[in-house]
């Protein structure tokens, strides 16, 4: 039962990753690509973390997975902001 849930969650997560990657490759400019990447991938990572957390043996492992997910979100959000700002400056001139 738990294995089935893991398959389901990681499967959903992978779908989000595929969507994000397609967006990265197909969308026309930096901003929409970033949108596709961060939205889809953060959600996808969340589902994969959830699926993996179901396999954890101790609560400590669950907590660690949660911290890793939170840190990845923080980093992804910050980096996409910085890239977007740089792209904005380049587009509008300094």
């Amino acid at each position: 039962m738990i294995d089935l849930a893991t398959y389901a969650f990681t499967g959903i997560g992978l779908v989000f990753f595929v969507a994000g990657t397609v967006g990265l490759l197909r969308f026309p400019d930096v901003f929409s690509r970033l949108h596709a990447l961060t939205k889809a991938d953060n959600l996808g990572l969340g589902f994969i973390a959830l699926g993996v957390a179901l396999q954890a043996e101790t609560w400590r492992q669950v907590a660690m997975i949660a911290v890793i997910w939170a840190l990845a979100l923080l980093a992804a959000g910050t980096v996409s902001q910085l890239i977007a700002r740089d792209a904005l400056i380049k587009r509008d001139g300094r």
């Binding site: 910050t78 902001q81 910085l82």
Partner: protein, 310 residues
Amino acid sequence: MTLLLDAVLCVLLLGTALAAVLGRGVFRAIVFFIVYGLLLSVGWVRLEAVNVALAEAAIGAGLTGILLLTTYGKLTRVSAEAEPDDAGVNLPVALVSVAVAGALAWAWSVLPEPTRPRAELAEALPRAGVENPVTAVLLSFRAWDTLLESVVLLAALIGLWLLGRDEDWQQRLGVPQHARPGGIMTSFGRVLPPVGFLVGVYLVFIGADEPGGAFQGGTVLAAVGLVAALAGLIQPPRIGQWQWHAGLVLGPLVFLLAGVAGALSDSGFLGYPEAIAGTAILVIEAALAASIAVTLAFLVIGPPEKGHRE
């Protein structure tokens, strides 16, 4: 199934490496090299080398990536980032590459079966005072290598500093960073360092028994300092500040003194009496991690440059 995973991983490794060598533009090469490093750290987990995976992710992909990107930025300022056109296949060089790769592949096929007595290691490990075999090798069985390696780091840093311009010698280290006060980078620089500091210290201490250690933890601590400097929260130091000199030599010095202490007692140079081996290794690791953090951070930010705002 796992073989399929390994195959996919190897194909990805080769693809990203090829893009790092042949991809158009140096910037692209750097990005693919960073991706390559992250994929490789997954590969190390597959090779049952979690300690190496941590080092690869932190140093091979992380710090090397920052180093290359910073350098690219410096080259852009003097318009030296453009690449000459060498897209065509250089046939002689390609033949040499194929020959070396082929020779290595042949060497693999004739490698003798490992005959090293595993029992010897299993017998020696309980006496090392730590449970992580890689830490035992680094700080006990082959401590010589690690001691000299920490000196190599120092030598590289001195060499790098010597490349600074004379008129900039008194300036702060690295290219000045301009982060908008209250901006996203400043907030990130406030949130990450406490968490990163905790992770770094945890990696150093857990390294005695589980994957981790002075190099991995020290690298995370170095990254914490770099993020804080990038966010403009701390000013990089100057070369002449003695506190930082003390930080640079602390690790090698403690290591050396412990080694001499071993020689004066009857454990031999860099040997520790069994009763205190665990404690000795932990103390050395903590000092080493501090020095590694400072040295790696200084290596990555580079020699002093002018233009820092006071």
